[in-house]
Symmetry: C2
Subunit: 142 residues, 2 copies
DNA sequence: ATTCCGTTGCTCGTGTGATAACCACGTTGT
DNA sequence: ACAACGTGGTTATCACACGAGCAACGGAAT
């Protein structure tokens, strides 16, 4: 019941990219240096983000990574799902075939409610908003 | 990001015990038969429940298991935590030392909010209430 | 002695976190 | 053109931890 390191790093990466000037291409090693991830692992983490259309990449000299869309259109749920697939708290919540107690099980309903609440939080703030709040936090701590 | 089978079975077990006449002692094999768990695995699952004071046990002839307190005082969170320990969505949420970005990281706040919402749902309904709703669901489906 | 539960240790499979080798593509200098 | 170089892309592999489950033996109550 804990998010993976991959998801954590993916979020850091997207937030970092969103802090750069618009359309600025960032080197992999610069992401690594600032976000405490190793290049080999980051390589693996970035691919799902690219396939999900959150990040795009450019090869060759002057290549690197940048956001594929406006950060205001990216939520934490998008990043989570790119890395870990569909969010589910219990197996019975994904495919309804998985549990024959589905019809009457009152616990099922509670998991559903908890999951909904969680998804709602993860979609409530977009990356632009998170970057703004981070900037504010830093200002207040000085 | 999914609860373990142990937690799932533990919940089924507690709900099942709550459905029995008060203070009725239930055999392990009866729990197994009705809840689709193997005896060996259930043995493992019951121990944390006993240590958490949710279930109590009786050895010897006529022994078995029963709830250690009123089902209205047991929540899903209690059972979850007995099996999986403290609920946390990200490592940085448990011990504040784990992440030096703690102070300013705006994502941290979002995880916190999501976790709070989830905990609130898991403590909202007690076992008595869940049993009542299950009974109602069964009635309506007939 | 019998019938229960308790404890311990084990297996087996899968997922996480991480590394490395090699491949494919773009840019740039010639 | 084209070759060299600098990027990211793909794939295979690894150690390790954890989840899920099994079994054997020990201990208490009757």
């Amino acid at each position: 019941m804990v998010i993976t390191r991959a998801t954590e790093y993916a979020i850091r990466t997207v937030v970092f990219l969103a802090q750069q000037p618009k359309d600025e291409i960032v080197l992999k090693k610069d992401i690594c240096r600032t976000q405490d991830v190793t290049p080999a692992f980051l390589t693996k983490i970035l691919q799902p983000l690219i396939k999900a259309g959150i990040v795009s990449s450019q090869r060759g000299v002057g290549g690197g990574f940048l956001l594929a869309k406006d950060p205001s259109e990216i939520t934490l749920l998008d990043i989570f799902q790119a890395e870990e697939g569909q969010l589910k708290l219990n197996y019975c919540l994904l495919d309804s075939e998985a549990c024959h107690r589905d019809n009457y099980c009152s616990v099922h309903e509670v998991w559903h409610e908890a999951q909904d609440k969680m998804i709602r939080v993860l979609t409530k703030y977009n990356i632009t908003e998170l970057v703004r709040r981070e900037k504010e936090n830093l200002k207040n701590s000085n």
